[in-house]
Amino acid sequence: MMTGKRKSIWVFGDYRNYYQNRVTLQLLSKAVDLSRLLDAEVCAVVVGHDLEEWIMEYTAHGADRILAVDHPSLTSYSTEHYLILMEKLVRERDPDILLIGATDFGREFAPRLAKRLHTGLSADCVGLDLTPDGLLVQIAPSFGGNMLAEIVTEKHRPQMATVRPGTFREIPHNNERTAVVERLPLPAQLPPARVRQIQYERAVQREHTIENANVIVCGGRGLGNKNNFRKLDDLAKLLGGDVGATRPVVYAGWAGHDVLIGQAGKHIKPKILFSFGISGAIQHTAGLGEADFIVAVNKNPQATMMRMADVAVVADAADWLNHLVKELRRRIRE
């Protein structure tokens, strides 16, 4: 065995719900990719109580080593206690890279950990890469995802990033894989947390808002007048969606400020976005986030919104809206 210390890529085990666990598995997958290029070890760190399920899961999804701190006092998530434990582990073992899922928990926990470790951190990354000399390139969004920045932490270690869930694809579960599992004791002197948890429950579905709507039909000045704009209500009703508006439309009094989509209004992330008569000025597109499927209708095929769209319909927006509503009504009635 060589005496030189092997580099290590750490993934923080965030497991509280399915979605949190998935992002951990996705990060393990990316860590495996990076580890091949860096000749590094992939290590999952998991803190809590009754961790066997996660130890098996992380092993099956690509971890070479698992550091587990299992104790009844760690049954529920505590940012403060996790900070103490992680700071200690990182200082003792000096990983090169530390990846954390950009869950709500991760985005509160990681900044404090980075500050404690006096290292850099990038937020909610949508890509990770390596420079030719092995530096982690952290691709982070800004301005509602319209711009991306490549960020590096040159001198300080570990290189830390929180990564948006869904960015990477997890490696299929493989029962044959094995990992070195280190079960570590709780440091004796864990102080009482200053933030006390009074109540904690699984949230019932949050009430419907435009921000979490699956379908949004958005209208701009290209619809021509208020009456045409109102027809968006019919389409929204048929599709079970919400109506959104651009700033000129709100200023013209066709719609209220509460449905303004954009930098100065609501930020949406629908699965399907219909955009009628909208050119796509950046103050509007900054609120669109990551719409999965965009249908834009505009007379001008060169409009930014048309270029952003999955389906760009070159037509008079009001006219096409009428026909679409008619056709949908016919199909739903049938």
Binding site: D104, F109, A114, T119, R194, V215, Q283, H323, E334
Partner: protein, 275 residues
């Protein structure tokens, strides 16, 4: 009476972004600014606390001289005092450096502060890191994404929704909270407030020298990250173009995408097969 600090940030109004499409760069120095929306919610939360039990509210921002505008806006809403942390050497600071300087400014200029509020995230860089890192800098208990704050004596109760869990947490002052945009819809500044914010504004401008931060100290606590390049996201859309008479095109469109749409809306819009 509670001594509250609200950290706010001026962000570029993207309507006004001087944007170079070719290079994909942004002249932030030329952009018109506005108060970051979540910061405005944090100011509102402080104003509600003030209305309930009395408080002195100091708004603090770090930025170029023009960032004074957001302090005036907060004063017009009802804050009592503004502090602008401004120094050329601070340009380009990341969250690590920013939280260090803000921590020093609050420690020096607002001693005995009970509660620090921040917006949960900013609409420009969207890191959501400065609040938690400021808590770390000042060694304060902290909670992010607060939807509701309740105070009884020296205890602060915070409600929030994180990762599909609803939580109620408590901590003692001094403490730090980042405020989400779920509640605390910001008020509009009153005419009297605007008058006060311009006629008799209590705004203090501090530089690194006043904060006793030497260049060596700033370097030691300076940015850990470096931005190599900023670029516009490339769209990876299939970009199908549909033209033709609207009536036919609408039907054609639905034929092509009916399955996708049906799956999302949870009901069938698939045309019945003609027999």
């Amino acid at each position: 009476m509670l001594n509250i600090v609200v950290c706010i940030k001026q962000v570029p109004m993207v309507t006004e972004l001087p944007w170079n499409e070719k290079t994909g760069t942004l002249r932030r120095d030329l952009a018109a600014g506005m108060m970051n929306p979540a910061c405005k919610h944090a100011v509102e939360a402080a104003l509600r606390i003030k209305a309930d039990g009395g408080a002195k509210i100091t708004v603090v921002t770090m930025g170029p001289p023009a960032a004074e505008e957001v302090l005036r806006e907060a004063l017009a809403m009802g804050a009592d005092r503004g502090i602008l942390v401004c120094d050329r050497l601070l340009a380009g600071s990341d969250t690590y450096a920013t939280s260090f300087v803000l921590g020093r400014a609050i420690g020096r200029e607002v001693p005995g502060c009970d509660l620090i509020l921040c917006g949960a995230y900013t609409s420009d860089s969207e890191t959501a890191q400065v609040g938690p890192q400021l808590a770390e800098e000042l060694d304060l208990p902290a909670v992010a994404y607060a939807e509701r704050l309740e105070i009884s004596g020296r205890t602060l109760r915070v409600r929030r929704l994180v990762d599909k869990f609803r939580e109620t947490l408590e901590m003692e002052f001094p403490a730090l909270v980042t405020v989400s945009m779920e509640q605390y819809k910001p008020r509009y500044a009153s005419f009297a407030g605007l008058n006060r914010a311009f006629a008799e504004a209590d705004i203090l401008s501090v530089n690194l020298k006043r904060l006793d931060i030497t260049p060596a100290e700033l370097a030691a606590h300076g940015s850990r990250t470096k931005v190599r390049r900023v670029f516009i996201r490339k769209t990876q859309k299939e970009n199908v173009l549909i033209t033709g008479a609207a009536a036919n095109a609408a039907a054609e469109f639905l034929d092509k995408y009916q399955r996708k749409i049906s799956a999302v809306i949870g009901k069938s819009i698939e045309a019945k097969k003609q027999t």
